[in-house]
Subunit: 155 residues, 3 copies
């Protein structure tokens, strides 16, 4: 049963918990970066936001899209698209009794690849920097899915 | 081990389960609201949807974006961006043995803030209504992440 | 407590794990399909991607949106919007001690409906194919939420 101390009794689950939290916090930072960019270049999606920074005609001018803001938003959405599979499969994989060091390397590679992906997206670095980091994260998730299905196939 | 009754033996986990379900249902409502708006103002993204409501030239006219529909979609995406961190971190936090009343207040604040965020986004209410409700939800997730990492740091 | 073998001792959880992994893998395929479409029709969102496939003026021409690419992206986003509720509620529902065969039918219906939704979206099939498959998945998630709240209501 779930005892209050259970997280501390399963090393793989503890490791997953730490890495998952770190990479979720990185994803959450994208919201703050978007907000900062929007305010610094004055490019808003909502009239009620733009009127805070300008009156009348100015406020209308500020409702626009900006290349930098859209770039951060694409990076954010890409994070979300890759984080949901990692969190879902990673959690189940952690509970399927994997080898600790194998699991740790999966988590480390994923977190490293996604942090590098964000750097490559926001700088932006020339391809294939972003492409490779995307596929490393993608491959890690596939590898966990394969190992998970091998141990718990039940349809 | 996971017994069929485990959810009922851990109060924090039961509370997380209830609050998470409520706020997920609220997020799911955004899909229905988007569909209703799309039909009421006749603004579709797909040709196969628009032909249901008009023939020939009319069907083409209905493939367009509409301010109200886009607003609901932005609110929905913002929900998604904040729900994934809450679900991931909240689940792990619930299993890390937190104090029941502390955990309850985290869940309540998050759920309240996100419901108010939706109201502020869809009405729309003037800023800083939406901004403040966003940051309350954001802060609650950060607070859970901090408490979780303090108890289960393992890299 | 969480033992390394716990997944194998709870049939509902094992089943959830298998179905969730399958449907997450399907969602992950959308990223690959988007990338393939972008390359085949040469429609990119980022300058650093387009310069891989053309020089100077050509590279600029390739920064554009394409109907097929946008369709895949909408299908992907719709997946994400429905997968997060399914994963969150489904996991908690699996741990709430449901009847095995009831749970299995929930998972099967959801996975089947979402696979059909993708086929209907990408072909595209005429409505109401996509609409019905959407609402089946939506209804399954609601049904699990209802059963979950009935057993674990704790606010």
């Amino acid at each position: 049963m779930v005892s209050p101390t259970q997280l501390k009794e399963n090393e793989v689950f503890m490791a997953f918990s730490s890495y998952a939290t770190i990479i979720i916090l990185k994803m959450m930072a994208m919201s703050a970066i978007t907000a900062c960019y929007r305010i610094s270049v004055k490019a808003f999606a909502n009239p009620e936001d733009s009127v805070v920074f300008g009156k009348g005609e100015n406020a209308k001018k500020y409702i626009r899209t900006d290349d930098h803001v859209e770039r951060v938003r694409r990076a954010h959405l890409n994070d979300l698209e890759n984080m949901v599979p990692f969190l879902g499969i990673g959690l189940l994989y952690s509970l399927s009794g994997p080898d600790l060091s194998t699991a740790l390397w999966h988590f480390r590679l994923f977190v490293g690849a996604r942090i590098y992906h964000t750097i490559a997206y926001l700088t932006p670095l020339p391809q294939p920097n972003r492409g490779v980091s995307f596929f490393v994260g993608y491959g890690v998730t596939f590898s966990m899915a394969y190992r998970l299905l091998k141990t718990t196939w039940y349809l």
